[in-house]
């Protein structure tokens, strides 16, 4: 029991880390740090870096939360710690 709980927490932290990497890359990465370079690519009338900063990162945030919630549900089940 003790061990499985440790493994559970490790899995949870791993998932959080992965989500945070994507979260960081699309907002701080594409939206701020590399926005200048990405602006050379056009998405319709949008420069791509500008699009990430003012549109894209928000859509990705929404998707990330639902993906996280779904994967957490699966981890909870695997380790039998879900609520009844």
């Amino acid at each position: 029991m003790e061990q499985s709980q440790e493994l559970y927490w490790k899995k949870v932290l791993g998932l959080i880390r992965n989500v945070l990497i994507v979260w960081f890359l699309c907002s701080y990465g594409a939206g701020i740090m590399f926005a200048g370079a990405l602006d050379n690519i056009k998405l319709g009338g949008y420069p791509l870096g500008f699009w990430f900063a003012q549109q894209g990162s928000i859509y990705i945030f929404v998707a990330l939360i639902f993906i996280y919630a779904k994967m957490m549900g699966k981890i909870d089940k695997d380790f039998d710690v879900a609520e009844d």
Partner: protein, 600 residues
């Protein structure tokens, strides 16, 4: 019907709706305010969170700020949405499992002391009160335009209404009232945006319109806007940043972790039935928020374009913006400008005495542009536009029908009132529940607790109203400071409480104090002690924004770093955390065994 009558009608109808719902949900529920059980559906909870969350700053102020700042305005968009990812993953499910009513309750148990609770309450009060100042500024703007009074008078009227609304009624029905307010505010925001997007690009979806073609030209809308603003001496719209990119980066961090640390948002996740729902509820909240937040950039860019096109006719035709007859004649200015002049939020000063309005960037560093402006006989920009009016004036600028203008007024009020109510609830419960009932006067009766809560609310309204008349910044700017305060004090302590089994009382308390004091010291240095003008002391630093160019609005992120660093240093020097607390943290980490939801 005249605009004034239409505005009264629409605003009156929405207020009747809120009161009706507040009454109906109150009558239907006999459960007491703090009683557990029930639980709100995650989707409805998401809507209510959206209304609670999207304040006057989001509705009234944000698009104006983005329009003014251009690309760099994205820091508001990313900062105020990205925090929900943190909230969903790092805090909401664990706090839901913990299962108490308020954020200070968590501190009390996790950091096993009253001192941690007191510090948390102080942090909460400072952040929430600062936030309400921003709301009152917004309410003032909306009412002053709607009733044709000065914005100070608008604040006073707003104070009176919030007082009645939050102090006497709506305590129990607040969630469902907020659902209705969400619907009103999102309609009020998107309908004018759809109209304007159609006018300017032929595309009814504003998110696509912003990336579309400008009607009647072969240019993309954003390219056209870039062209116009650079012609008038401003920075390029799609690349300009406030300060530098480091400041933008830090500012975004500050808003994100502030979002995750604001108590009135966190307590929303105590209301859902299960831990599982706490995770997805943050997602639903963000869906509803994203509808407004992805529309805002279009509103911003299109309002900026329309404003320039109104003042300078050459903008539309692509002609010479310096031509004498391109600038609009003051006497021929449109009605909406006259209406906004009454409020003092739009000002015209004929510097070169030609009876026409020249609106451009007179602080431009571009010598070529300045030479051209000089040759045209321009003697400085003659129009001052307060950013906060952009969203409210937007439909008027675009000549939309009266009912749309009236709807926007109603939406702005819904946004400001729902957030103010949520904040006042957080403030009053912190004082009456956490401070009085749980610590100072343990034998306080329920009636006494309620009375104390109402008195606390009333005091908070008066303070916020007074400061709202003399705000340190635009509504969005003031709100940003509130987020910085939450980011530097509450968020790190909550996170360490869940993710560090070894964080002890001394570390958490020292960290919170260090983070809050550091942030307040820096903010007050630039905006005055308690935001009162004339008491700024930035001179002692030598120069403004001395800390690597980081503005006071963005400093919360650095404050959070200070908090973490001090907390871990102090922890290592003091007694370790008791074993039962460590066991409690282990238990909080797994969803199994969470009790019923808290009803409110």
């Amino acid at each position: 019907m005249s605009l004034q009558a239409m505005t009264y009608l629409v605003v009156g109808l929405t207020f009747a709706l809120y009161l009706g719902i507040a009454f109906w949900t109150r009558a239907g529920s006999t459960k007491e305010f703090y009683v557990a059980g029930g639980g709100v559906h995650p989707v409805l909870n998401g809507m209510a969170t959206g209304a609670d969350w999207m304040s006057a700053a989001s509705f009234i102020s944000m698009a104006g700020m983005i329009g003014y700042m251009g690309y760099g305005g994205a820091l508001f968009l990313m900062g105020w949405t990205g925090g929900y990812v943190l909230l969903a993953m790092l805090l909401a499910p664990y706090l839901r499992k913990f299962g108490k009513f308020t954020v200070p309750d968590f501190f009390k148990a996790r950091y096993y002391s009253n001192s941690a609770t007191v510090v948390a309450v102080v942090c909460l009060l400072v952040a929430s009160t600062t936030y309400i100042i921003g709301q009152m500024t917004g309410v003032g703007v909306a009412f002053s335009r709607f009733l044709g009074v000065s914005s100070e008078m608008g604040v006073i009227i707003g104070m009176a209404i919030v007082f009645v609304y939050a102090v006497f009624g709506g305590m129990k029905g607040i969630t469902y009232t907020q659902v209705a307010q969400y619907v009103v505010l999102i309609l009020a925001y998107t309908i004018p945006a759809i109209f304007i997007s159609l006018q300017l690009t032929g595309n009814p979806i504003p998110q696509l319109g912003l990336g579309g073609q400008y009607t009647g030209s072969d240019m993309a809308l954003l390219a056209k806007l870039d062209h116009i603003v650079t012609d008038l001496g401003f920075g390029k719209y799609t690349t300009s940043v406030p300060g530098d990119k480091l400041n933008m980066f830090v500012y975004t961090v500050s808003l994100m972790i502030g979002t995750a640390g604001l108590p009135h948002v966190i307590i929303r996740f105590f209301t859902v039935p299960k831990v599982k729902d706490a995770r997805s509820s943050a997602g639903w909240a963000l869906v509803f928020i994203a509808i407004l937040y992805t529309t805002a950039p279009s509103v911003a860019a299109m309002a900026r374009l329309n404003l320039h096109a109104t003042i300078n006719t050459a903008v539309q035709s692509g002609g010479d913006v310096f031509a004498p007859d391109a600038s609009i004649q003051y006497d021929a200015r449109p009605d909406w400008m006259k209406r906004w002049e009454v409020t003092g939020l739009l000002k015209f000063e004929d510097k070169n005495g030609d009876g026409r309005i020249q609106y451009y960037n007179d602080t431009s560093k571009n010598a070529e542009f300045l030479a051209k402006a000089d040759a045209a006989g321009w003697k400085g920009s003659e129009l001052t536009v307060n950013n906060d009016i952009m969203v409210l004036a937007n439909p008027e600028i675009a000549n939309l029908p009266n009912w749309v203008i009236a709807l926007v007024a109603a939406g702005g009020l819904a946004a400001a009132l729902s957030t103010a109510a949520g904040l006042l609830l957080a403030i009053s419960s912190a004082i009456s529940h956490d401070l009085l009932k749980n610590m100072m006067m343990k034998d306080l009766s329920e009636k006494g607790e309620l009375m104390a809560g109402r008195i606390a609310m009333a005091c908070a309204i008066v303070v916020a109203g007074f400061l709202g008349m003399y705000p340190p910044d635009f509504a969005a700017g003031t709100v940003a400071i509130a987020f910085g305060l939450a980011a530097s004090s509450i968020f790190p302590a909550l996170m360490m409480g869940i993710f560090s089994k070894t964080m002890n009382r001394q570390g958490a308390v020292a960290g919170m104090i260090a983070g809050l004091v550091f942030t307040m010291f820096y903010v007050f240095a630039h905006t005055g002690i308690f935001y009162i003008h004339g008491t700024e002391y930035w001179q002692i630093f030598g120069k403004k924004d001395f800390f690597f160019g980081i503005s006071p609005n963005a400093i919360g992120a650095i404050g959070a770093v200070v908090n973490f660093a001090v907390a871990f240093a102090v922890k290592n020097m003091t007694t370790p955390v008791p074993s039962d607390i460590a066991a409690m943290v282990e238990n909080v980490r797994i969803p199994k065994g969470a009790g019923g939801a808290i009803d409110h």
